[in-house]
Amino acid sequence: MGGNSLHGVTDAIVSIGFHGLAFAMVLYLISVGLSVTMGLMGFVNLAHGVFAMLGGYVMIRLMNRYGVPFLPALAAAAIAAALASIPLERLLYRRFYGGEELDQVLLTMGLIFMSVAGATFVCGPLTQQMEPPRWLSGQVDLGFRHFPAYRSFLILCGAGLVTALWLGLERTRFGAQIRAAVDNLRMAQSVGINTSRLFMLTFALGSGLAGLGGGLGADLLAISPSYALQYLVYFIIVVAVGGLGSIRGPFFAALLIGIGDTGFKYLLPEFGAFFIYALTMALLLWRPQGLFGRA
């Protein structure tokens, strides 16, 4: 009996860790762009989830209606979100960089409302069902246990993207420019970095990643018209806990929130969400600037 219950505990821990990790990857992919927007441009973009939702819709629509294979549809989701973000950034967001929070909050709430209406108009009010492709359905055997194949792919994919993102930030010229602008915007401008162009590209990159996260995570965060409003708390929590303008901070915050949320909902389904909110409040009281933010 003892061995059995021990096995059960290990099983629960592995299960929580696995699903929590998958959730964390989705949260990170969606939220990292938001962190940069808030830290670099000083813009509270509540509508960031709209780009994730757009990615989800594009991917599911392409797969279900036009029979496009999974991977190209996923790429299309990211590209669509990135492309859609550019005119918004140029026409609307740019005017309010570093401005009053209230304006930014209202502007982006307006965008959320329009996205709810737009999504309902185009795709109807129902939740979109995501069918994983055949090569990702079922289970994979890792020797000691079976894991759902799609979630495993999600974790691998997320890990690959995170590595690419961090390497890109460290090793490329563009990454160096972003780091310079986050560190000291005016200095970056005075050494000749075109920050307006930098902002636009960073914004598009962040939105593209969100689109990718929305598509990849469509079975975790279900795609429906109220997506941007429904999951806003999660995205904001990840950014606020991780620290504004940080690329790495939101990753650890996403791990904490993803695994914590999965764990508490698994162990105490009645009170699941409370722990995350309590944890967030405690963390923000301890470090209002976030775990990795600078005071």
Binding site: M38, V105, L229, A240, T280
Partner: protein
């Protein structure tokens, strides 16, 4: 000598301007005249009118927090919902006396405001915005889980609200509801007006405009922010109680992000930090909502979103701001 006389003339003008600001302007009677006139002129719309009056109180309380103290909140519905549930649970469990229910709702909402403010007002900026959102979301989840008391997702039903003073029964035309809401709103407005014109209110504006400087002159900024947050929470709770008592229903949406957001929208349409923004923004918003959302709720959200963006981009200061700009 001439310079001295000029100086004292300027000083007198300044003192005069300060003194005049507190005095009632004839235009300030306008909303009340319209409200009373509407009671007689539009007998078919009194239920909607009562909702509008109660919501004005809610948005007015949001204006105290946002417009005067400069606290950008995404969780003001926390207090509205608390008040609504307090009044609702009392009335559903055998205590339907409306006035005491209203007072209990305001007190408990104020207490929630005080306790949450004690914790969250230490932060500023995004962290504060976040915390207000988290407080409201936590209460929403709590109300959702405590189905035995709140009815959960289905909403709280079975409220029995007694007649006011044992005399005025809430009628199906909303006459009593309208008068009740109007009187409570008037009292709330008196409180709010008194606050914003008091030295306390001026100090709040000072802290909003330049926090560091108010700290530097030794003003207790944190305490003042907490006080106004608590008062605004109590007013929002009273507004929630009004809606609960006059509609005999409380739903989870009374605690939702959507309601907090709508309060901001109504305030920005009317004009922030002007005390009368709520009196313009709420009727415009709610009458438009009543007209359009019954036709098609989806389109309503589309146009609402577009309107918000237009207000932020083109009409800072809302309708009152536009009027101010047009006046010579």
């Amino acid at each position: 000598m001439a310079a001295g006389a000029e100086h004292s003339a300027v000083r007198d003008a300044v003192i005069d301007a300060f003194a005049r600001r507190h005095r009632l302007h004839p235009l300030e009677a306008l909303p009340w005249l319209i409200a009373v006139a509407a009671y007689f002129a539009l007998p078919g719309y009194l239920s909607l009118g009562a909702q509008i009056l109660a919501t004005i109180l809610f948005v007015l309380s949001a204006d105290l927090v946002l417009g005067y103290a400069g606290i950008v909140t995404l969780g003001h519905a926390a207090f509205f919902g608390t008040g609504a549930y307090v009044a609702g649970i009392l009335a559903a469990n055998g205590w339907g006396e409306p006035i005491s229910g209203l007072i209990a709702a305001a007190l408990i909402a104020g207490l929630v405001g005080f306790l949450s403010g004690l914790i969250i007002l230490r932060t500023t900026g995004l962290a504060l915005l976040m915390q207000t959102l988290v407080v409201a979301t936590t209460l929403y989840e709590a109300a959702n889980k405590a189905g035995r008391w709140t009815g959960g997702d289905d909403g709280l039903q079975g409220m029995q609200v007694w007649p006011i003073f044992g005399l005025f029964r809430f009628d199906m035309f909303g006459r009593v509801a309208y008068a009740y809401c109007l009187i409570v709103l008037f009292l709330g407005w008196l409180v709010a007006r008194r606050i914003v014109h008091s030295p306390f209110g001026r100090a709040l504006i000072g802290a909003r405009e330049n926090t560091a400087r108010m700290h530097a002159i030794g003003a207790p900024v944190a305490r003042r922010r907490l006080v106004i947050y608590t008062i605004a929470a109590a007013l929002a709770g009273a507004s929630g109680a009004l809606i609960a008592q006059t509609t005999s229903f409380v739903g989870l949406t009374s605690l939702s992000l959507e309601r907090s957001g709508n309060a901001l929208i109504m305030l920005i349409i009317g004009g922030v930090g002007r005390l009368y923004g709520a009196f313009i923004g709420v009727p415009v918003f709610m009458i438009a909502q009543d007209r359009f959302s019954s036709i098609d709720p989806v389109y309503w959200y589309f146009w609402l979103g577009l309107l918000m963006i237009a207000v932020v981009v083109f009409a800072r200061g809302g309708l009152l701001g536009l009027i101010e700009r047009l006046r010579p």
